[in-house]
C-alpha cells in the first residue's frame, strides 16, 4: 500500500495537476469569501438580510470567518469528485493500469494506496484553500467595517477547524463516489458526466418531484448537511452515519469488482 501511495504522489506532483487541483479548489472558497464580505449589509438584529446579502452581525459571530467557505464546501467536494474520478478512470483509458498491476498485483493494496494519496492531495487543497480564504477575509472585513475580534476567539478557531474538517470529510465522501464511478465506467468523461449529472441535477429532481423524504437519505443532501454541521434536512451525525454506510458499501462493492475483473 505504501508503494501505491508514494507512486500515486509521484504522479500527482506535477505542475498541471497541482495548478488545476489547487486552482479549482481555491477558486470557489475565495470567490465565496469575496462575495460574502463585499455584499454584506449592515442591518440590525434580528434582520438576516436578503439572499446573497449576509448581515454584518452574522459575519461578526465566531463562525462568520468561514461563513462563505462553508456555503461552497460542496463545490470543493465536486472538485474532489472530478479529481478522483479522473485519476482512477485515466488508468483504464490510458492503458497504464496493466503496467501498474504487474508491479503491484495486490489489487486492494493498490486501490487503498492510490485513494490515500489522492486524499492526502485533497487535504492539502482544502487546507490551502481555506487558509487563503481566511487570510482574504481578514484583509477585506476591516475595510467593510466588519469586526473580526470574535474570529480569533477560541470559539472562532474551533469553528474554523470544524469547517476544515467538515469540508475535508465531504471531499473524501465525494472522492469515494468519484473513484467508484471511475473504476466502474473506466472513462473520465463518462464518470465525470454521470457523477455531475447526479449531484447537480438528478438528486434535486428526485427530492423535488418524486420523493421529498429523500433529502434525509440521498447523498448530495446528506453532504450538504455534513458541511454545514447539520441542517434542516439532517443532523450532522445522521449525515455522517449514512454517508459512512454508503461509502463503506460502495468501497466493498468496488474492491470486489476490481479484484475480480480482468484488467
Amino acid at each position: 500500500m505504501w508503494g501505491s501511495f508514494t507512486s500515486e504522489l509521484t504522479k500527482l506532483a506535477r505542475r498541471n495537476i497541482i495548478l488545476w487541483g489547487f486552482g479549482a479548489g481555491m477558486f470557489f472558497p475565495l470567490l465565496a469569501t469575496i462575495f460574502t464580505i463585499e455584499h454584506a449589509v449592515n442591518v440590525p438584529r434580528p434582520f438576516v438580510g436578503n439572499r446573497g446579502h449576509v448581515p454584518f452581525w452574522i459575519l461578526e459571530q465566531p463562525n462568520g470567518l468561514v461563513h462563505g467557505v462553508t456555503d461552497v464546501s460542496v463545490l470543493l467536494g465536486i472538485v474532489s469528485l472530478v479529481i478522483f474520478a479522473t485519476t482512477f478512470s485515466l488508468e483504464y483509458s490510458q492503458g497504464t493500469l496493466r503496467n501498474l498491476l504487474v508491479r503491484e498485483p495486490r489489487r486492494t493494496h493498490f486501490l487503498a494506496g492510490k485513494f490515500l494519496a489522492i486524499s492526502a492531495f485533497m487535504l492539502a487543497v482544502v487546507i490551502v484553500a481555506i487558509a487563503l480564504s481566511v487570510a482574504l477575509a481578514f484583509i477585506l472585513a476591516p475595510g467593510k467595517g466588519i469586526s473580526t475580534s470574535a474570529w480569533t476567539s477560541s470559539s472562532g478557531l474551533n469553528d474554523l477547524f470544524q469547517s476544515v474538517w467538515h469540508a475535508y470529510l465531504a471531499t473524501l465522501f465525494y472522492g469515494v463516489f468519484g473513484a467508484a464511478l471511475g473504476i466502474l465506467l473506466r472513462s473520465p468523461a463518462a464518470s465525470i458526466g454521470v457523477s455531475l449529472a447526479y449531484f447537480i441535477a438528478i438528486e434535486a429532481i428526485i427530492v423535488g418531484a418524486i420523493w421529498s423524504g429523500g433529502s434525509n437519505w440521498l447523498p448530495d443532501h446528506l453532504l450538504n448537511a455534513l458541511v454545514h454541521g447539520g441542517n434542516g434536512d439532517s443532523t450532522y451525525y445522521h449525515a455522517l452515519l449514512m454517508l459512512s454506510i454508503y461509502c463503506l458499501a460502495i468501497a466493498a462493492a468496488i474492491i470486489t469488482l476490481f479484484r475480480r475483473r480482468d484488467a
Partner: protein, 320 residues
Amino acid sequence: MPADTTDATAVHPIVASKLSKRYREVLAVDGVDIDLPRGIVAGFVGPNGAGKTTTIQLLLGLVRPTAGKARVLGEPIEHPERYLHRVGALIESPAFYPALSGQRNLEVLVRLGRLDARRIPAVLEQVGLAERAKDRVKTYSLGMKQRLGVAAALLPDPELVILDEPTNGLDPGGIREMREVMRSLADRGITVLVSSHLLREIEAICDHLMMIDHGRIVFEGPIAGLLEAQHSGITARPENVHDLGKLEQIARAAGKPARVDGDAIYVTADESYAAELNREAFAAGITLRGLEVTRASLEDAFFAITESDDGTAEAEEVPA
C-alpha cells in the same frame, strides 16, 4: 505436458496445463499447455487474435483463467503477488503517462513495486534512452515508447521477462539493438518470452518457439526442430524450357513432389537430392542452368501450420 506441473516448475519458469480463457462466446485461449525451459529466448507467434496477448495476461495474473492451471516461476497464477516481483513485462503497446518524463514514469513503477531506484539509469542506458530520459513521454516516438516499455520490464532485475511485440515501431537499428538486449538477457540466464509477428526476428533471436492459433498451441519446442521437420525445396531451371515436363517426371519418379513454377520446377526434397537430380537430368540429356536449394524458414513453417485446418497435421508440408 505433464499432468502434475509441480516437478516441471522446479526448473521451468512457465508451465501451463489446459489453460483456457473464455470471453462470453469467444474462447480466446483454448486448453493451452506450455512447458518453457529456463534461460532461453522463446518466441510466441500466431496470427492476430490467436490468443497471444490473452495468454500473456493470464500468465501475469491480469485476467483470470476460465479453466486450467499454470505456474510462473513455480507459483500459481492465482497468486501473482508471489512471483511478479521477479518478472518483467511489456504488455501490448507501451502505456505511460504522457506528461511525465521517461525517468519519472519509471520512478512511478519503482515506487509502486518497491524496486531499487538505482536501476533506473542502468535500464535506460540499456535500451538507449539515457539521453532522452528527462523528456516528457508525449514527445517520444513509438519506438522510444517501446524502448521505455522494455526498460520498465527490466526494472525488477527479473528472472523472467515477457515482452509483447517489443519491436513494434522500432527502426531496423532499433530492432537490432532490441535483439541484442534480449540475447544479453538470455546470456545472463534470464528467460525471455517474446511475442512478435516479425517471424524473421523470432527466427533470428529465439531458441524456442510457441505457436498459437485459434487459442490453441499448435507447436511448442526448439525452433531448430521445427525447421528440420520442414522439408527444404529445390528449384531446378533447365536451359531449355521444353524440358520442364521431363524434369518434373524425373523428380516424381524419384518419389519427390514436384511442380512446374514458371521457367523452373520446384521439388519438395532435402538438400541431398539436389545432386542426384542434377545427375539424373544430365543423364536424360537435360542441361540445368540453375539449381538452387531453399531451406524452410520459420515463415514457411508458420503458414504451413496456421493455414492448415487441424494445426500440426500439415506441419511438414511445404507451402505451395
